[in-house]
Structures are given as structure tokens and as C-alpha cells.
Subunit: 315 residues, 2 copies
């Protein structure tokens, strides 16, 4: 296990700057009144390819030697990581293969292809995915970029919190959703070194609460069959992300599906931004844990905006 360092994150930021947006931080009087806190929303829904994962993917892709890069990159993901890896590979002009269940939404396949990546379909099972992925790597020699359990990816995600503390002074806390833990780990990497007084909280759907249960138990517990509208958050922690979560996270809070949907609609209505259900989990937990957040200056990471507009969860 290679744990990324502050230097890795700083190098990542210099490396990826030409390929990512320094996303804006939005505030909202209504949200402040509802929460009793001062909330600063770091809007990665406006990021290149629509999600913070463009940061980690770009760091992995642009950190390869020319010889490595020539063989391309590969991953398995039916979510934003696949799209963002394809985006980054497209920027460098190298091949990218994404293994995806044949049952994945057409829009996700189209997004990978839209940036020039190749989609290879597998059956919707871990066995099939691993077998198909091994074939892809054997055939291409492509570099595997894991969606989150990869030091290059975590160092890249850490650049988001670096920008946030440059943009907002005096934060008391930062909160982000947790699935596999890439964004939270990057935030831990950056904040524990550069702003150790800022508390780091993770927010998770009740119906996919493996990180919460792992945190309370003190060791990784995998979910059996997580099922949540916040579909980016179904994946489990791995050794690298568990390292950061167990060492640096102050607490993990959960929210019900109803609370997540209400917080999502509230944000769309009052802040006029399109964001994924996953991004609403932090706000949902802030609103139900006033004792923790009221009176505090809180950074809230809005992780992505790639939502299916034809299937909004309140309809």
C-alpha cells in the first residue's frame, strides 16, 4: 500500500491545472437559514466531465511516462470515473478502455465514447467484470486506474480541498459524501497537512452505510447489496481509503432516502444548480445534525452533476 503524501497532492495540482476547472464556491442565504450554519458549496458539478473525478483521473493519466501512456489506460466503472478517465485520456490523446456491465445506462456508455474512450461490456457480475477486465489488460497492456483505491487518484481528489481552503477562510469543517472514499481520502490528505484544525465529516446513505458501520467497528465491513438513489455511493471502502478514513475523519453521518431526495430538491430549487443525488447527502446530514454544524463555517463538496434528467427521484 502506497500512501500518497502532501507533495504528491501539490504535484498533482500543478499537473492537472490545465485540464480541470477551478470550480466556484457558492453560498445561499436560504441554506444558511435552514442549517443555522454558514455553508460554502464547492461546485464540482461544474467540473470538466461533470464530476470531481476528473481531478484524480487527470493526475493518473498525465503522470504516466510516454511509454506507459502509449499503451493507454483502463478501468471498470459504470459511473463518473469511467467518463472522467476517458476525458483525461482524450486530453492526452491516448487510448482508454472502460469495462462496464451491459446493463449500465446508455447515457453512461455514450459519455465514455463521447470523450473518445472504448466501452467493453461484461455481464453484471464481479466474476465477469474481473475476467473481461483481465482480458483487456492482457491484450492492451493498459495501465489500470482504479476509481478510488489508487494513490494517484487520491492525490488528485485532494486538490479540491486545497482550492476550497484557498477560496474560503476560516472553515471549521468540511463534509463530503462517501462511497469508496476517494474524495474523503483526498480531503483528509490535504486538510490534515494544510489545515489540521478543520474537522472532516463524511455523509452516507443509510441504505449503503458500509463506511459508517466500518468507522464504528474499527475495521472494513462491506455492504451486502446496497440500494440507494445515491448510486455513486454504493461501492465499498478499500485499504487505502480506509487508511485515511480511520485516521482523519471526525465522524460519519447517514441520511435516509427521503432526506436525500428532499435535500436534493431543496438545492435545485434555491441554488439553481443541477447535481446528483449523492451530492445531497451532506446537506441532508447537516440539516439533521444541527448540534454539530450550527454556528460553524462548513465547506460542502458538491461532487458531480451527471444526473439523468428523465428520471428525477422526486417524480
Amino acid at each position: 500500500m502506497i500512501i500518497p503524501t502532501l507533495a504528491d497532492m501539490l504535484i498533482a495540482h500543478e499537473r492537472i491545472k490545465p485540464h480541470i476547472h477551478r470550480t466556484p464556491v457558492l453560498t445561499s442565504r436560504v441554506m444558511d437559514e435552514l442549517s443555522g450554519a454558514e455553508l460554502f458549496f464547492k461546485c464540482e458539478n461544474f467540473q470538466k466531465a461533470g464530476a470531481f473525478k476528473a481531478r484524480g483521473a487527470s493526475n493518473a493519466v498525465f503522470g504516466l511516462s510516454d511509454a506507459e501512456a502509449a499503451k493507454g489506460v483502463a478501468t471498470h466503472s459504470s459511473g463518473n470515473h469511467g467518463t472522467c478517465l476517458s476525458y483525461a485520456a482524450g486530453r492526452r490523446g491516448i487510448p482508454c478502455t472502460v469495462v462496464m456491465p451491459r446493463t449500465a445506462p446508455q447515457a453512461k456508455k455514450d459519455a465514455v465514447r463521447g470523450y473518445g474512450g472504448r466501452v467493453v461490456e461484461c455481464e453484471p457480475s464481479t466474476t465477469s467484470r474481473e475476467a473481461v477486465f483481465a482480458e483487456v489488460v492482457a491484450e492492451t497492456g493498459a495501465e489500470f486506474v482504479h476509481p478510488y483505491n489508487d494513490p494517484r487518484v487520491i492525490a488528485g481528489q485532494g486538490t479540491c480541498s486545497k482550492e476550497l481552503i484557498e477560496q474560503v477562510d476560516g472553515l471549521d469543517a468540511v463534509i463530503a459524501p462517501i462511497g469508496g472514499g476517494g474524495m474523503i481520502s483526498g480531503s483528509c490528505l490535504t486538510l490534515s497537512a494544510l489545515a489540521p484544525k478543520i474537522r472532516i465529516y463524511a455523509a452516507e446513505p443509510e441504505q449503503a452505510d458500509d463506511a459508517y458501520r466500518s468507522f464504528k467497528a474499527g475495521h472494513i465491513i462491506a455492504d451486502d447489496a446496497p440500494n440507494t438513489i445515491a448510486d455513486g455511493l454504493k461501492v465499498p471502502l478499500k485499504d487505502l481509503t480506509w487508511h485515511f478514513v480511520s485516521h482523519h475523519v471526525t465522524d460519519i453521518f447517514t441520511a435516509s432516502e427521503e432526506e436525500i431526495i428532499a435535500a436534493m430538491k431543496l438545492t435545485w430549487k434555491h441554488m439553481k444548480i443541477v447535481m446528483e443525488p449523492s451530492c445531497a447527502v451532506p446537506l441532508a446530514t447537516i440539516l439533521k445534525n444541527r448540534d454539530v454544524f450550527a454556528g460553524k463555517r462548513v465547506g460542502v463538496i458538491i461532487t458531480g452533476g451527471n444526473v439523468d434528467l428523465d428520471k428525477l427521484p422526486w417524480q
Copy 2:
């Protein structure tokens, strides 16, 4: 007819600055590729109370003498002007009455009340509205602030284009939706004086094309019964707004309902912003008039974000 001047607009900007947002200008690689132009979206959907009309309403309210202000303000509007007048009156701490058809959406009534305004219901007819409104004014002595045919309102709306040309250099054109013509008139007021080389275009739904037909005929033609998803654009031009349109607008383009809905969905999908159907009309006309806009730097005014999330037009 009192025609507002550049000085009125400049005074308006100083007057309303504490009460409005200097809204951001967003760009999008996807939108530039689709249009062949460089598009700069001035995001008044992020404006206070969710619409550019906070500018004109604030100018009218904060320009009143204390004696006038004590009697409050009144208007008739079932749209953003009512909400924004209530917002501005609330900021000054004076009464605001909005006459609305009893059939208006509950959300619009709630929005007026949310800022402290009073809603007085009338029957959904011009006769009833005028009678009820006359009673309100007789009873309160409130100052009438027309939604658009008012020099104070037009001077306030003109501050939007002032910010836009401060934020973006070298624009070739500015385009905005046209209903009653308040935003377009304000843009004409500002740009004809400060940046006369910038062409001003208006965009209108085919199904509410009274401004288009008036412009072509050379005199005001009112629509009979306009019916469009872009419900903010159903109102007709009046003498003041016709003055600006007839003197300073280069051309008016129209778009079909299908084109408007497609442009709206495209913006939500790629720019991750929530905006009203009206705001999509300019983009729809840009995409169908490539000969006019390709290769140009174009400011596009996104007028508001107060959309009913339970009734999206593509569903």
C-alpha cells in the same frame, strides 16, 4: 412617456448594488461547439429572488422618498416581478401588495408571501385584475411599479448588461428573451450608450411572437392568446419598451416549443444550471441561426431560475 437615460441606469446600479448579486458569467465548451460561437451566459437565475427582475424592482423601491415608501408598493404579476418586488420591499421594510389571479400557481403566491408581501387575489380576467388593483391603490396609496413599462424598472434591468460588458471583453452581440421587453429595453439603454458596436438581438417563442410581428410591422401588435411553455414571455410590448425595441434591436428571432424545450434540457445537462423555459429561447434561436452567430462572441442572458421542478417540460 419618460425615457430612462444612461445616468438613470448608472444611478440605479449604485443604488441597488447592496441588494443584488453581481451574477457570474459561465461558459461551456459543449455549447460553443454546438453553436460555432463563443457564448457567455450571464446567469440571472442566480440573482436574488431567482430572476433579473430583482434589479428593476430594487431600483424602483429604493428610489422612493421615505414618504412615498411608507405607503408601500403594489403591482399585478403572477410571475417573477411580483416575487422580486416583494423581495425589494422586504429589504426596505415597506409594504408590498401583489394582485394575482386566484388561479395562479400556489408556489408563486408562496414566493411573494415568503418575502413578506401580501397577495390579493382577483379573477383571471383583465377586467377583474384592473378593478381589484384600483381598489388596492385607493385603499393603500401604494406606488404602482409596472413589471416592465416603467423607466425605473428599465433602468434597473439595464444594470445587467453593464455588468456583462465589464465581465466579458469584445462582445459582438447580446441576446435576451423578449416578453414585455423590460430586459431587452434595459440592454438597449446600456449598450447603445456604452458599447454601441454590440448588436442586440431578442428571442421569442413562435407561439407568443407579438414582438417579432411588431418589429416586422413597425408598430405594436398584441397577441390574441399566446400559449407557450415560456410563460414569462406571454406579455405584450408597451410604449416604453417598444421605443427601445424599435430604435436599438438589430433583429428578433423565434423558436418553436420543441426547440425551446430541447435547448432547456441541453443547458441543464451540460451546464448543470436550473433555469426557466424562457431562458432557453435565446440558445434555441442561436442554434438555428448559425449564419448570424457563428464565429461571434455572444452574451446570452439567462433571465431566471424559478421553475416548477415537479412539472418539467420534457416529461
